[in-house]
Symmetry: D2
Subunit: 142 residues, 4 copies
Amino acid sequence: MNDFKYTHRVHFYETDMMGVVHHSNYLRVFEEARMAWMRHKKLHTTHAPHTEISLAVLETSCQHHRPAHLDDILTVYLQVKREGARVRFAYALYSDRYDALVAKGTSTHIPMNRELKACRLPKQIIKQLESEPWNETWPSNL
Amino acid sequence: MNDFKYTHRVHFYETDMMGVVHHSNYLRVFEEARMAWMRHKKLHTTHAPHTEISLAVLETSCQHHRPAHLDDILTVYLQVKREGARVRFAYALYSDRYDALVAKGTSTHIPMNRELKACRLPKQIIKQLESEPWNETWPSNL
Amino acid sequence: MNDFKYTHRVHFYETDMMGVVHHSNYLRVFEEARMAWMRHKKLHTTHAPHTEISLAVLETSCQHHRPAHLDDILTVYLQVKREGARVRFAYALYSDRYDALVAKGTSTHIPMNRELKACRLPKQIIKQLESEPWNETWPSNL
Amino acid sequence: MNDFKYTHRVHFYETDMMGVVHHSNYLRVFEEARMAWMRHKKLHTTHAPHTEISLAVLETSCQHHRPAHLDDILTVYLQVKREGARVRFAYALYSDRYDALVAKGTSTHIPMNRELKACRLPKQIIKQLESEPWNETWPSNL
């Protein structure tokens, strides 16, 4: 497993009238974790605004196991792999409230230029992805 | 096919620095469509704040085919079916910009009470779902 | 008074754990109303993405009189005036729940080009603003 | 001056198609800072979900001096005072990009119970506010 993790405290504005984090906000926390991982691996300079490239979102999924509440400290673990011209992230989100899985998710990305045309994956990203572990049964083995 | 559709004009605050609708907002537009369908079928009185029940989100997915831009008129079609104690929605989102599919998505829900415990599906919802068409190849047949 | 009004149904994702619309979302509904007014007056072609100009936000304010709830139909009235190179909007937001004022707000804007440098107000906007009524005691006279 | 400060890194989903942080998100970052200050002063246990009380928002304002961009590290300073039954916060937000003021803002709050009725300020809050400095010319003196 890679040793990266990202933490996010639940903000009041992320809750909804059920008293828990609105499901759309999980995609935003996954994005925060993904961007933090890019910075951690010094890959943030491969995309906008540093270059013309963005990793556009092709697909997302999220499975909810337990609700997250105000002030919970969420910890996101992730793994990442290359799928041809695409990059696939998998996320596992835990809360300090339960010490248990709150949500799992995935996102698939394709590099695009400023005109939103598909382009090549930057070499630094390809190189990094070659050394990233990927485990199909993750995060059951966490 | 059911004849329901929902339209949503893209707001400025829904865009991101790539100049297109942020991917997390698709789940919000799907939610708008889902709630509008509930009202259309007179099922909104089966859930909060009219009753103690909410249709909590268990799973979501979204596939992006084309970007959506400011002021685009998005049209969401949906189909819905019962899966035991759960309800599953599938969404197809089109934009007047392309006259073509922009995104597809799904969401799975389970009824929960105010304490966030799973409970029974309200009878009116069960009855409505019995008469709803579901097509596995949808929306390719739209 | 100008006769423009904009309606917005409160979405589930706009609520927070107090069970009402989160205060930050009022600025978003004001923005929806402002953009709708621009379209209504055929002024939307004066700004991005149709031109290089955006009406950047310099100041906002909002006063909350009553909470807004899920499914409330909010109606926004607005008035607008020129202040030199700036444009000032005032908003009054009512809910069908109370038939009474829910919130008032203002926003002040300055035209900026793509490099975020201040630029001149488009002539069509200046012309429109010359014919817009403005009443300091508004909306008490609504 | 109180020595509290709060930092927030700008997330991708907080930007809009102008390439900068959407103005509505400043109210959210102010809220994050306000809640962090409450925790810092051990006052978070005075409000929901720990008690029935929430500090409902009565008024907000925000003045924008410079735009904030993706990955900017924003630092929020605040001061707070009591105004009868109300609590008033003032915020000053700086970015590491400019080492200069990006935005100023205010929010006024009133304690409300679960039924959204105004109630008394908790004693711990009153006591804390008595010892908080307030400077009308702030943050010009920062």
